[in-house]
Protein backbone atom coordinates (compact mmCIF):
# COMPACT_ATOMS: atom_id res chain seq x y z
CA UNK A 1 0.00 0.00 0.00
CA UNK A 2 1.23 3.45 -0.87
CA UNK A 3 2.30 5.96 1.73
CA UNK A 4 -0.02 8.95 1.40
CA UNK A 5 1.33 10.90 4.34
CA UNK A 6 1.65 14.61 3.65
CA UNK A 7 2.23 17.85 5.52
CA UNK A 8 -0.42 20.48 6.23
CA UNK A 9 1.34 22.73 3.71
CA UNK A 10 1.20 20.01 1.03
CA UNK A 11 -2.56 19.70 1.44
CA UNK A 12 -3.23 23.44 1.50
CA UNK A 13 -1.10 23.73 -1.63
CA UNK A 14 -3.57 21.58 -3.56
CA UNK A 15 -6.47 23.91 -2.80
CA UNK A 16 -6.83 26.52 -5.50
CA UNK A 17 -8.87 29.70 -5.59
CA UNK A 18 -12.41 29.17 -6.85
CA UNK A 19 -12.62 25.54 -5.74
CA UNK A 20 -15.52 23.90 -3.92
CA UNK A 21 -14.33 22.59 -0.55
CA UNK A 22 -16.30 20.20 1.65
CA UNK A 23 -15.42 20.22 5.34
CA UNK A 24 -16.35 17.27 7.56
CA UNK A 25 -17.40 17.21 11.21
CA UNK A 26 -20.55 18.80 12.60
CA UNK A 27 -20.88 22.26 14.18
CA UNK A 28 -18.03 22.53 16.65
CA UNK A 29 -17.22 18.82 16.59
CA UNK A 30 -14.30 16.99 14.98
CA UNK A 31 -13.55 19.75 12.48
CA UNK A 32 -10.28 19.59 10.50
CA UNK A 33 -9.18 22.84 12.12
CA UNK A 34 -5.44 22.40 11.51
CA UNK A 35 -6.17 22.10 7.78
CA UNK A 36 -8.49 25.11 7.93
CA UNK A 37 -5.81 27.15 9.73
CA UNK A 38 -3.36 26.08 7.03
CA UNK A 39 -5.77 27.35 4.37
CA UNK A 40 -5.72 30.71 6.17
CA UNK A 41 -1.91 30.71 5.87
CA UNK A 42 -2.18 30.07 2.12
CA UNK A 43 -3.76 32.27 -0.52
CA UNK A 44 -6.75 30.28 -1.84
CA UNK A 45 -9.81 32.51 -2.06
CA UNK A 46 -13.23 32.72 -3.72
CA UNK A 47 -13.94 29.34 -2.22
CA UNK A 48 -17.31 27.64 -2.16
CA UNK A 49 -17.47 26.02 1.28
CA UNK A 50 -19.84 23.09 1.88
CA UNK A 51 -20.23 22.28 5.56
CA UNK A 52 -22.36 21.45 8.55
CA UNK A 53 -20.61 24.56 9.68
CA UNK A 54 -18.82 25.60 12.83
CA UNK A 55 -15.67 27.66 13.40
CA UNK A 56 -14.27 26.27 10.13
CA UNK A 57 -16.79 28.43 8.30
CA UNK A 58 -16.32 31.31 10.75
CA UNK A 59 -12.55 31.46 10.29
CA UNK A 60 -12.69 31.22 6.50
CA UNK A 61 -15.36 33.94 6.36
CA UNK A 62 -13.42 36.19 8.72
CA UNK A 63 -10.38 35.87 6.45
CA UNK A 64 -12.45 36.79 3.40
CA UNK A 65 -11.79 33.49 1.63
CA UNK A 66 -15.38 32.50 0.96
CA UNK A 67 -17.42 33.41 -2.12
CA UNK A 68 -20.29 31.07 -1.43
CA UNK A 69 -21.46 29.17 1.64
CA UNK A 70 -23.43 25.95 1.25
CA UNK A 71 -24.67 24.86 4.67
CA UNK A 72 -27.19 23.12 6.87
CA UNK A 73 -26.28 25.44 9.74
CA UNK A 74 -23.25 27.28 11.16
CA UNK A 75 -23.17 26.73 14.92
CA UNK A 76 -20.66 26.42 17.74
CA UNK A 77 -23.06 24.06 19.59
CA UNK A 78 -22.65 25.59 23.05
CA UNK A 79 -22.93 29.00 21.32
CA UNK A 80 -25.90 29.01 18.93
CA UNK A 81 -24.28 30.83 16.00
CA UNK A 82 -20.73 31.40 14.87
CA UNK A 83 -20.36 35.18 15.23
CA UNK A 84 -18.32 35.59 12.03
CA UNK A 85 -21.04 33.77 10.12
CA UNK A 86 -23.68 36.02 11.64
CA UNK A 87 -21.65 39.11 10.76
CA UNK A 88 -20.93 38.12 7.16
CA UNK A 89 -24.61 37.27 6.62
CA UNK A 90 -25.84 40.52 8.15
CA UNK A 91 -23.59 42.57 5.89
CA UNK A 92 -24.56 40.47 2.87
CA UNK A 93 -20.91 39.57 2.39
CA UNK A 94 -21.31 36.10 0.99
CA UNK A 95 -23.50 34.18 -1.43
CA UNK A 96 -25.44 31.42 0.31
CA UNK A 97 -27.25 28.16 -0.24
CA UNK A 98 -29.01 27.30 3.01
CA UNK A 99 -30.56 23.84 3.07
CA UNK A 100 -32.58 21.79 5.49
CA UNK A 101 -30.08 19.47 7.20
CA UNK A 102 -31.65 16.37 5.66
CA UNK A 103 -31.57 17.95 2.18
CA UNK A 104 -27.89 18.69 2.67
CA UNK A 105 -27.25 15.00 3.44
CA UNK A 106 -29.31 14.01 0.40
CA UNK A 107 -27.15 16.29 -1.73
CA UNK A 108 -23.98 14.64 -0.42
CA UNK A 109 -25.44 11.18 -1.03
CA UNK A 110 -26.28 12.11 -4.61
CA UNK A 111 -22.75 13.39 -5.17
CA UNK A 112 -21.22 10.30 -3.57
CA UNK A 113 -23.26 8.12 -5.97
CA UNK A 114 -22.36 10.26 -9.00
CA UNK A 115 -26.01 11.22 -9.46
CA UNK A 116 -27.05 14.75 -10.41
CA UNK A 117 -29.85 14.73 -7.80
CA UNK A 118 -31.82 12.57 -5.41
CA UNK A 119 -35.49 12.99 -4.50
CA UNK A 120 -36.58 13.98 -0.99
CA UNK A 121 -39.70 15.27 0.72
CA UNK A 122 -37.67 17.69 2.84
CA UNK A 123 -38.01 21.23 1.56
CA UNK A 124 -41.41 20.86 -0.12
CA UNK A 125 -43.59 23.90 0.54
CA UNK A 126 -40.81 25.69 2.43
CA UNK A 127 -38.79 28.78 1.57
CA UNK A 128 -35.68 26.66 1.08
CA UNK A 129 -36.97 26.48 -2.51
CA UNK A 130 -37.40 30.28 -2.57
CA UNK A 131 -33.89 30.87 -1.23
CA UNK A 132 -32.44 28.37 -3.71
CA UNK A 133 -34.26 29.26 -6.93
CA UNK A 134 -32.25 26.71 -8.89
CA UNK A 135 -33.91 23.87 -6.97
CA UNK A 136 -36.87 22.23 -8.69
CA UNK A 137 -39.43 19.60 -7.78
CA UNK A 138 -39.94 16.43 -9.74
CA UNK A 139 -43.04 14.29 -10.31
CA UNK A 140 -42.81 10.72 -9.11
CA UNK A 141 -42.98 8.33 -12.07
CA UNK A 142 -44.79 5.85 -9.82
CA UNK A 143 -47.26 7.85 -7.71
CA UNK A 144 -49.17 11.09 -7.79
CA UNK A 145 -46.52 12.85 -5.74
CA UNK A 146 -43.90 15.53 -6.08
CA UNK A 147 -40.50 15.55 -4.45
CA UNK A 148 -37.68 18.04 -4.24
CA UNK A 149 -34.93 17.09 -6.70
CA UNK A 150 -32.03 17.85 -4.37
CA UNK A 151 -28.98 18.74 -6.38
CA UNK A 152 -25.77 16.80 -5.88
CA UNK A 153 -23.26 18.66 -3.71
CA UNK A 154 -20.19 17.62 -5.65
CA UNK A 155 -16.87 18.72 -4.16
CA UNK A 156 -13.44 19.37 -5.61
CA UNK A 157 -11.78 18.66 -2.29
CA UNK A 158 -12.97 17.23 1.03
CA UNK A 159 -11.14 17.86 4.31
CA UNK A 160 -11.90 15.71 7.35
CA UNK A 161 -10.30 15.03 10.73
CA UNK A 162 -10.36 11.62 12.42
CA UNK A 163 -8.96 10.05 15.57
CA UNK A 164 -6.63 7.56 13.82
CA UNK A 165 -5.53 6.69 10.31
CA UNK A 166 -2.86 4.62 8.63
CA UNK A 167 -0.52 6.09 6.04
CA UNK A 168 -2.48 4.42 3.25
CA UNK A 169 -5.52 6.53 4.10
CA UNK A 170 -7.75 4.17 6.08
CA UNK A 171 -9.43 6.45 8.59
CA UNK A 172 -10.97 5.59 11.96
CA UNK A 173 -13.29 7.52 14.26
CA UNK A 174 -13.45 6.60 17.95
CA UNK A 175 -16.13 9.03 19.18
CA UNK A 176 -19.89 8.53 19.37
CA UNK A 177 -20.76 9.84 15.91
CA UNK A 178 -19.15 9.46 12.46
CA UNK A 179 -21.04 12.58 11.28
CA UNK A 180 -20.91 12.54 7.46
CA UNK A 181 -17.19 12.36 6.88
CA UNK A 182 -17.35 9.24 4.69
CA UNK A 183 -19.95 10.90 2.48
CA UNK A 184 -17.80 14.02 2.18
CA UNK A 185 -14.89 11.80 1.12
CA UNK A 186 -16.96 9.99 -1.50
CA UNK A 187 -18.57 13.19 -2.80
CA UNK A 188 -15.18 14.74 -3.55
CA UNK A 189 -12.70 14.39 -6.39
CA UNK A 190 -9.97 14.38 -3.75
CA UNK A 191 -10.13 13.86 -0.01
CA UNK A 192 -7.48 14.73 2.58
CA UNK A 193 -7.62 13.31 6.08
CA UNK A 194 -5.93 14.84 9.08
CA UNK A 195 -5.62 12.61 12.10
CA UNK A 196 -4.57 12.72 15.73
CA UNK A 197 -2.12 9.93 15.03
CA UNK A 198 -0.91 7.88 12.07
CA UNK A 199 -0.63 4.25 13.20
CA UNK A 200 1.13 1.26 11.65
CA UNK A 201 -0.82 -0.75 9.06
CA UNK A 202 -2.95 -3.19 11.03
CA UNK A 203 -2.70 -1.02 14.13
CA UNK A 204 -6.13 0.55 13.74
CA UNK A 205 -8.03 -2.37 15.23
CA UNK A 206 -6.05 -2.09 18.44
CA UNK A 207 -7.94 1.16 19.09
CA UNK A 208 -11.50 0.28 18.12
CA UNK A 209 -13.78 -2.23 16.41
CA UNK A 210 -13.85 -2.81 12.66
CA UNK A 211 -17.05 -0.73 12.53
CA UNK A 212 -15.02 2.33 13.51
CA UNK A 213 -13.06 2.17 10.23
CA UNK A 214 -15.06 4.97 8.66
CA UNK A 215 -13.29 5.88 5.44
CA UNK A 216 -11.46 3.50 3.13
CA UNK A 217 -8.22 4.45 1.41
CA UNK A 218 -10.26 4.05 -1.81
CA UNK A 219 -11.45 7.59 -1.19
CA UNK A 220 -8.41 9.20 0.41
CA UNK A 221 -5.62 11.04 -1.40
CA UNK A 222 -3.53 12.21 1.52
CA UNK A 223 -3.08 11.80 5.25
CA UNK A 224 -1.66 14.39 7.64
CA UNK A 225 -0.68 13.66 11.21
CA UNK A 226 -2.00 16.65 13.15
CA UNK A 227 -2.20 16.08 16.92
CA UNK A 228 -4.93 18.24 18.43
CA UNK A 229 -5.80 19.02 14.82
CA UNK A 230 -9.49 19.50 15.64
CA UNK A 231 -8.82 22.06 18.37
CA UNK A 232 -10.82 23.96 19.58
CA UNK A 233 -13.64 21.71 18.41
CA UNK A 234 -14.21 18.34 20.08
CA UNK A 235 -12.43 15.16 19.09
CA UNK A 236 -13.87 12.63 21.53
CA UNK A 237 -12.51 10.52 23.11
CA UNK A 238 -9.06 12.10 22.54
CA UNK A 239 -10.23 15.48 23.85
CA UNK A 240 -13.41 17.44 24.32
CA UNK A 241 -14.25 20.86 22.99
CA UNK A 242 -12.07 23.61 24.48
CA UNK A 243 -15.02 25.63 25.72
CA UNK A 244 -12.93 28.35 27.35
CA UNK A 245 -11.02 28.96 24.14
CA UNK A 246 -14.16 28.76 22.02
CA UNK A 247 -15.77 31.40 24.24
CA UNK A 248 -12.64 33.53 23.76
CA UNK A 249 -12.87 33.04 19.97
CA UNK A 250 -16.55 34.00 19.94
CA UNK A 251 -16.04 37.06 22.08
CA UNK A 252 -13.02 38.21 20.05
CA UNK A 253 -15.11 37.89 16.89
CA UNK A 254 -17.53 40.55 18.08
CA UNK A 255 -15.41 43.55 17.18
CA UNK A 256 -12.64 44.33 14.72
CA UNK A 257 -9.95 45.32 17.22
CA UNK A 258 -10.27 42.28 19.42
CA UNK A 259 -10.40 40.05 16.35
CA UNK A 260 -7.21 41.65 15.05
CA UNK A 261 -5.55 40.82 18.36
CA UNK A 262 -6.90 37.25 18.27
CA UNK A 263 -5.60 36.78 14.75
CA UNK A 264 -2.16 38.10 15.61
CA UNK A 265 -1.97 36.02 18.77
CA UNK A 266 -3.23 32.72 17.43
CA UNK A 267 -3.41 32.60 13.65
CA UNK A 268 -0.47 34.48 12.18
CA UNK A 269 2.13 31.86 13.11
CA UNK A 270 2.44 28.21 12.12
CA UNK A 271 0.54 25.31 13.65
CA UNK A 272 3.07 24.81 16.43
CA UNK A 273 2.86 28.50 17.30
CA UNK A 274 -0.93 28.17 17.45
CA UNK A 275 -0.78 25.38 20.00
CA UNK A 276 1.84 27.24 22.05
CA UNK A 277 -0.35 30.35 22.09
CA UNK A 278 -3.35 28.26 23.18
CA UNK A 279 -1.28 26.72 25.98
CA UNK A 280 -0.29 30.21 27.08
CA UNK A 281 -3.92 31.32 26.95
CA UNK A 282 -4.83 28.53 29.35
CA UNK A 283 -1.84 29.15 31.60
CA UNK A 284 -2.77 32.83 31.94
CA UNK A 285 -6.38 31.94 32.54
CA UNK A 286 -5.53 29.37 35.22
CA UNK A 287 -3.26 31.96 36.84
CA UNK A 288 -6.06 34.55 36.92
CA UNK A 289 -8.50 32.03 38.33
CA UNK A 290 -5.94 31.08 41.00
CA UNK A 291 -5.61 34.71 42.08
CA UNK A 292 -9.35 35.07 42.32
CA UNK A 293 -9.68 32.27 44.85
Amino acid sequence: MGDKSMSLEDVAGTVESGMTIGIGGWGSRRKPMALVRELLRGDARDLTVVSFGGPDVGLLCAAGRVRKLVYGFVSLDSIALDPHFRAVRERGGVETAEYDEGMFVTGLRAAASRLSFLPTRAGLGSDVLTMNPDLVTIASPYADEEYVAMKALRLDVALVHVNRADAAGNAQYLGPDPYFDDLFAMAADRCYVSTERIVEPGGLLAGGPAQSLLISRLFVNGVVEAPRGAHFTSCDPDYGRDEAFQAHYASAARDADSWELFRKTFLDGDEQAYHEAVAEFHANRDGRQGEGR
Binding site: S78, L124, D236
Partner: protein, 284 residues
Amino acid sequence: MTETTRAGAGSNQAEPEIIQAEPETTRADTEITRAEVCAVACADVWRGVGEVLAHTAGVVPSIGARLARLTTSPDLVLTDGEAYFMSDPPPLGRTAADGGVVEGWVPYRKVFDIVASGRRQSMMGASQIDRYGNQNISLIGDWRRPTRQLIGVRGAPGNTANHRTDYWVARHTPKVFVEKVDVVCGVGNDRARGAGGKGLRFHDLGVVITNLAVLDYGEDGRLRVRSLHPGVTADEVHANTGFEIDTSGATETRLPDETELRLIREVVDPRGLREREVSRSTGS
Protein backbone atom coordinates in the same frame (compact mmCIF):
# COMPACT_ATOMS: atom_id res chain seq x y z
CA MET B 1 -10.75 10.79 32.69
CA THR B 2 -8.37 13.62 31.90
CA GLU B 3 -9.28 17.18 32.61
CA THR B 4 -9.58 18.03 28.93
CA THR B 5 -11.91 15.10 28.32
CA ARG B 6 -14.11 16.15 31.19
CA ALA B 7 -14.25 19.69 29.91
CA GLY B 8 -15.67 18.51 26.62
CA ALA B 9 -17.96 15.67 27.72
CA GLY B 10 -21.15 16.62 25.96
CA SER B 11 -22.10 20.17 25.17
CA ASN B 12 -23.03 21.16 28.67
CA GLN B 13 -20.65 23.90 29.49
CA ALA B 14 -23.51 26.21 30.40
CA GLU B 15 -24.37 23.82 33.22
CA PRO B 16 -22.56 25.51 36.13
CA GLU B 17 -24.21 28.79 35.22
CA ILE B 18 -27.64 27.14 35.30
CA ILE B 19 -26.99 25.70 38.74
CA GLN B 20 -25.99 29.09 40.08
CA ALA B 21 -29.08 30.71 38.61
CA GLU B 22 -31.45 28.15 40.12
CA PRO B 23 -33.94 29.84 42.42
CA GLU B 24 -33.70 28.26 45.85
CA THR B 25 -37.36 28.79 46.55
CA THR B 26 -38.66 26.64 43.70
CA ARG B 27 -39.17 23.48 45.70
CA ALA B 28 -40.52 25.05 48.83
CA ASP B 29 -43.42 26.66 47.01
CA THR B 30 -46.06 23.98 46.43
CA GLU B 31 -48.31 26.23 44.38
CA ILE B 32 -48.55 24.92 40.83
CA THR B 33 -46.51 27.16 38.53
CA ARG B 34 -47.19 28.24 34.96
CA ALA B 35 -44.15 26.25 33.86
CA GLU B 36 -45.67 23.11 35.34
CA VAL B 37 -48.96 23.73 33.53
CA CYS B 38 -46.99 24.13 30.29
CA ALA B 39 -44.97 20.96 30.95
CA VAL B 40 -48.13 18.90 31.36
CA ALA B 41 -49.66 20.45 28.24
CA CYS B 42 -46.49 19.41 26.40
CA ALA B 43 -46.73 15.89 27.86
CA ASP B 44 -50.25 15.59 26.45
CA VAL B 45 -48.81 16.02 22.95
CA TRP B 46 -47.18 12.59 23.31
CA ARG B 47 -50.16 10.83 24.88
CA GLY B 48 -50.51 7.31 23.50
CA VAL B 49 -48.32 7.83 20.43
CA GLY B 50 -46.66 4.43 20.82
CA GLU B 51 -43.15 3.60 19.67
CA VAL B 52 -42.19 6.93 18.21
CA LEU B 53 -38.99 8.93 18.57
CA ALA B 54 -39.64 12.09 20.58
CA HIS B 55 -37.68 15.08 19.33
CA THR B 56 -37.81 18.22 21.45
CA ALA B 57 -36.14 21.62 21.49
CA GLY B 58 -36.33 23.52 24.76
CA VAL B 59 -36.51 22.57 28.43
CA VAL B 60 -40.28 22.45 28.88
CA PRO B 61 -40.90 20.22 25.82
CA SER B 62 -38.15 17.88 27.07
CA ILE B 63 -39.85 17.68 30.46
CA GLY B 64 -43.13 17.00 28.67
CA ALA B 65 -41.71 14.09 26.67
CA ARG B 66 -40.08 12.56 29.74
CA LEU B 67 -43.25 12.96 31.75
CA ALA B 68 -45.31 11.33 28.99
CA ARG B 69 -42.87 8.45 28.94
CA LEU B 70 -43.42 7.96 32.70
CA THR B 71 -47.21 8.25 32.47
CA THR B 72 -49.33 8.05 29.33
CA SER B 73 -46.83 6.99 26.69
CA PRO B 74 -44.54 4.29 28.12
CA ASP B 75 -43.30 3.16 24.69
CA LEU B 76 -42.04 6.60 23.67
CA VAL B 77 -38.41 6.58 22.52
CA LEU B 78 -36.16 9.25 24.06
CA THR B 79 -32.66 10.40 23.06
CA ASP B 80 -29.88 12.14 24.90
CA GLY B 81 -29.86 14.80 22.19
CA GLU B 82 -26.59 13.40 20.88
CA ALA B 83 -25.94 9.90 19.55
CA TYR B 84 -28.01 7.62 21.78
CA PHE B 85 -31.50 6.33 22.45
CA MET B 86 -32.03 6.19 26.19
CA SER B 87 -34.27 3.62 27.94
CA ASP B 88 -33.52 5.62 31.07
CA PRO B 89 -32.66 9.23 30.16
CA PRO B 90 -29.72 11.18 31.62
CA PRO B 91 -30.46 14.16 33.90
CA LEU B 92 -32.33 16.92 32.06
CA GLY B 93 -30.05 18.89 29.78
CA ARG B 94 -27.27 16.31 30.03
CA THR B 95 -26.09 13.57 27.69
CA ALA B 96 -25.41 9.84 27.96
CA ALA B 97 -21.91 10.77 29.16
CA ASP B 98 -23.54 11.96 32.41
CA GLY B 99 -25.78 8.99 33.15
CA GLY B 100 -28.83 7.00 32.08
CA VAL B 101 -29.16 3.74 30.19
CA VAL B 102 -28.44 3.49 26.46
CA GLU B 103 -30.78 1.34 24.36
CA GLY B 104 -29.75 2.35 20.86
CA TRP B 105 -27.19 4.15 18.71
CA VAL B 106 -28.49 6.99 16.60
CA PRO B 107 -25.77 9.13 15.04
CA TYR B 108 -27.01 12.13 13.04
CA ARG B 109 -27.08 10.16 9.79
CA LYS B 110 -29.69 7.82 11.28
CA VAL B 111 -31.81 10.71 12.51
CA PHE B 112 -32.54 11.81 8.95
CA ASP B 113 -33.46 8.25 7.98
CA ILE B 114 -35.86 8.10 10.95
CA VAL B 115 -37.37 11.45 9.95
CA ALA B 116 -38.03 10.07 6.47
CA SER B 117 -39.52 6.87 7.94
CA GLY B 118 -42.10 8.90 9.86
CA ARG B 119 -41.41 7.16 13.20
CA ARG B 120 -40.74 10.47 14.85
CA GLN B 121 -42.65 13.38 16.31
CA SER B 122 -41.15 16.77 16.88
CA MET B 123 -41.75 19.71 19.19
CA MET B 124 -39.71 22.65 17.95
CA GLY B 125 -39.39 26.31 18.85
CA ALA B 126 -40.48 29.23 16.67
CA SER B 127 -38.99 32.70 16.33
CA GLN B 128 -41.99 33.63 14.19
CA ILE B 129 -45.22 31.78 13.43
CA ASP B 130 -48.23 32.87 11.37
CA ARG B 131 -51.93 32.01 11.51
CA TYR B 132 -51.46 28.89 9.38
CA GLY B 133 -48.56 27.59 11.43
CA ASN B 134 -45.79 28.60 9.06
CA GLN B 135 -42.74 28.71 11.32
CA ASN B 136 -39.49 30.66 11.04
CA ILE B 137 -36.25 30.00 12.91
CA SER B 138 -33.87 30.97 10.10
CA LEU B 139 -33.47 34.74 10.08
CA ILE B 140 -35.25 38.08 10.35
CA GLY B 141 -35.47 40.31 7.29
CA ASP B 142 -34.47 39.53 3.70
CA TRP B 143 -32.70 36.20 3.29
CA ARG B 144 -30.10 37.76 0.96
CA ARG B 145 -29.02 40.12 3.72
CA PRO B 146 -30.83 39.46 6.98
CA THR B 147 -31.18 42.16 9.60
CA ARG B 148 -30.76 39.37 12.12
CA GLN B 149 -29.32 35.98 11.27
CA LEU B 150 -30.93 33.28 13.43
CA ILE B 151 -30.11 29.56 13.53
CA GLY B 152 -31.16 28.70 9.97
CA VAL B 153 -33.93 26.38 8.76
CA ARG B 154 -32.22 23.44 10.49
CA GLY B 155 -34.51 20.38 10.22
CA ALA B 156 -37.85 22.20 10.19
CA PRO B 157 -38.71 21.70 6.48
CA GLY B 158 -37.99 17.98 6.69
CA ASN B 159 -39.81 17.55 9.99
CA THR B 160 -43.00 19.19 8.76
CA ALA B 161 -42.85 17.23 5.49
CA ASN B 162 -42.49 13.89 7.21
CA HIS B 163 -44.22 13.66 10.58
CA ARG B 164 -46.29 15.43 13.20
CA THR B 165 -44.77 18.68 14.38
CA ASP B 166 -45.80 20.82 17.35
CA TYR B 167 -44.34 24.11 18.52
CA TRP B 168 -43.36 25.51 21.89
CA VAL B 169 -43.21 29.28 22.35
CA ALA B 170 -41.92 30.28 25.79
CA ARG B 171 -42.84 33.93 25.26
CA HIS B 172 -46.12 34.57 23.48
CA THR B 173 -45.80 38.03 21.90
CA PRO B 174 -46.90 39.83 18.72
CA LYS B 175 -43.27 39.62 17.54
CA VAL B 176 -43.56 35.84 17.46
CA PHE B 177 -47.18 35.52 16.33
CA VAL B 178 -46.98 37.55 13.11
CA GLU B 179 -49.06 38.16 10.00
CA LYS B 180 -46.28 36.88 7.78
CA VAL B 181 -43.08 35.06 8.66
CA ASP B 182 -39.87 36.21 6.99
CA VAL B 183 -38.80 32.69 5.99
CA VAL B 184 -41.03 29.62 5.93
CA CYS B 185 -38.96 26.89 7.60
CA GLY B 186 -41.65 24.68 9.10
CA VAL B 187 -44.42 24.43 6.49
CA GLY B 188 -47.87 25.75 7.46
CA ASN B 189 -51.29 24.37 6.58
CA ASP B 190 -51.99 26.84 3.74
CA ARG B 191 -48.84 25.85 1.88
CA ALA B 192 -49.27 22.15 2.61
CA ARG B 193 -52.77 22.24 1.18
CA GLY B 194 -51.85 24.45 -1.78
CA ALA B 195 -50.06 23.67 -5.01
CA GLY B 196 -46.75 23.21 -3.22
CA GLY B 197 -48.25 20.46 -1.12
CA LYS B 198 -48.39 17.60 -3.61
CA GLY B 199 -46.13 15.24 -1.75
CA LEU B 200 -46.81 16.61 1.69
CA ARG B 201 -49.20 13.80 2.55
CA PHE B 202 -47.48 13.27 5.88
CA HIS B 203 -47.74 16.94 6.87
CA ASP B 204 -49.36 17.07 10.32
CA LEU B 205 -49.31 20.13 12.53
CA GLY B 206 -50.50 19.37 16.06
CA VAL B 207 -50.60 22.20 18.59
CA VAL B 208 -48.71 25.32 19.58
CA ILE B 209 -48.12 25.56 23.31
CA THR B 210 -47.15 28.93 24.75
CA ASN B 211 -46.74 30.46 28.18
CA LEU B 212 -50.31 31.74 27.81
CA ALA B 213 -52.34 29.09 26.03
CA VAL B 214 -52.64 25.93 23.99
CA LEU B 215 -53.46 26.64 20.35
CA ASP B 216 -54.60 24.16 17.74
CA TYR B 217 -55.77 24.39 14.13
CA GLY B 218 -59.36 24.61 12.93
CA GLU B 219 -60.83 22.96 9.83
CA ASP B 220 -59.67 25.98 7.83
CA GLY B 221 -56.08 25.29 8.91
CA ARG B 222 -55.91 28.44 11.02
CA LEU B 223 -54.64 28.67 14.57
CA ARG B 224 -57.27 29.07 17.27
CA VAL B 225 -57.13 28.95 21.05
CA ARG B 226 -58.00 25.55 22.41
CA SER B 227 -57.38 26.43 26.06
CA LEU B 228 -56.14 29.32 28.17
CA HIS B 229 -53.78 28.56 31.01
CA PRO B 230 -55.32 29.20 34.44
CA GLY B 231 -55.15 32.93 35.17
CA VAL B 232 -54.80 33.99 31.52
CA THR B 233 -57.60 35.95 29.81
CA ALA B 234 -58.62 35.85 26.16
CA ASP B 235 -57.83 39.58 25.98
CA GLU B 236 -54.26 38.85 27.00
CA VAL B 237 -53.89 36.37 24.14
CA HIS B 238 -55.45 38.77 21.64
CA ALA B 239 -53.11 41.54 22.78
CA ASN B 240 -50.09 39.29 22.39
CA THR B 241 -50.98 37.82 19.01
CA GLY B 242 -50.14 39.77 15.85
CA PHE B 243 -53.13 38.42 13.91
CA GLU B 244 -56.80 37.80 14.63
CA ILE B 245 -57.30 34.61 16.53
CA ASP B 246 -60.48 32.81 17.54
CA THR B 247 -60.72 32.33 21.29
CA SER B 248 -64.47 31.57 21.37
CA GLY B 249 -64.04 27.85 21.95
CA ALA B 250 -61.31 28.14 24.55
CA THR B 251 -61.53 26.03 27.68
CA GLU B 252 -59.08 26.15 30.59
CA THR B 253 -55.80 24.23 30.30
CA ARG B 254 -55.80 21.36 32.76
CA LEU B 255 -53.66 21.38 35.88
CA PRO B 256 -51.10 18.67 36.59
CA ASP B 257 -52.40 15.92 38.84
CA GLU B 258 -50.53 14.92 41.99
CA THR B 259 -48.57 12.15 40.30
CA GLU B 260 -47.48 14.43 37.47
CA LEU B 261 -46.48 17.16 39.88
CA ARG B 262 -44.40 14.77 41.94
CA LEU B 263 -42.73 13.35 38.81
CA ILE B 264 -41.91 16.80 37.45
CA ARG B 265 -40.55 18.11 40.76
CA GLU B 266 -38.76 15.04 42.05
CA VAL B 267 -37.85 12.88 39.06
CA VAL B 268 -37.73 14.77 35.77
CA ASP B 269 -36.65 18.29 36.78
CA PRO B 270 -35.53 18.36 40.42
CA ARG B 271 -33.28 21.37 39.70
CA GLY B 272 -36.22 23.48 38.55
CA LEU B 273 -34.87 24.36 35.09
CA ARG B 274 -38.48 24.76 33.90
CA GLU B 275 -38.99 27.88 36.00
CA ARG B 276 -36.03 29.52 34.36
CA GLU B 277 -37.43 28.99 30.85
CA VAL B 278 -40.96 30.16 31.61
CA SER B 279 -40.58 32.68 34.43
CA ARG B 280 -37.96 34.50 32.40
CA SER B 281 -40.49 34.76 29.61
CA THR B 282 -43.69 35.50 31.54
CA GLY B 283 -42.24 38.37 33.50
CA SER B 284 -43.08 41.90 32.40
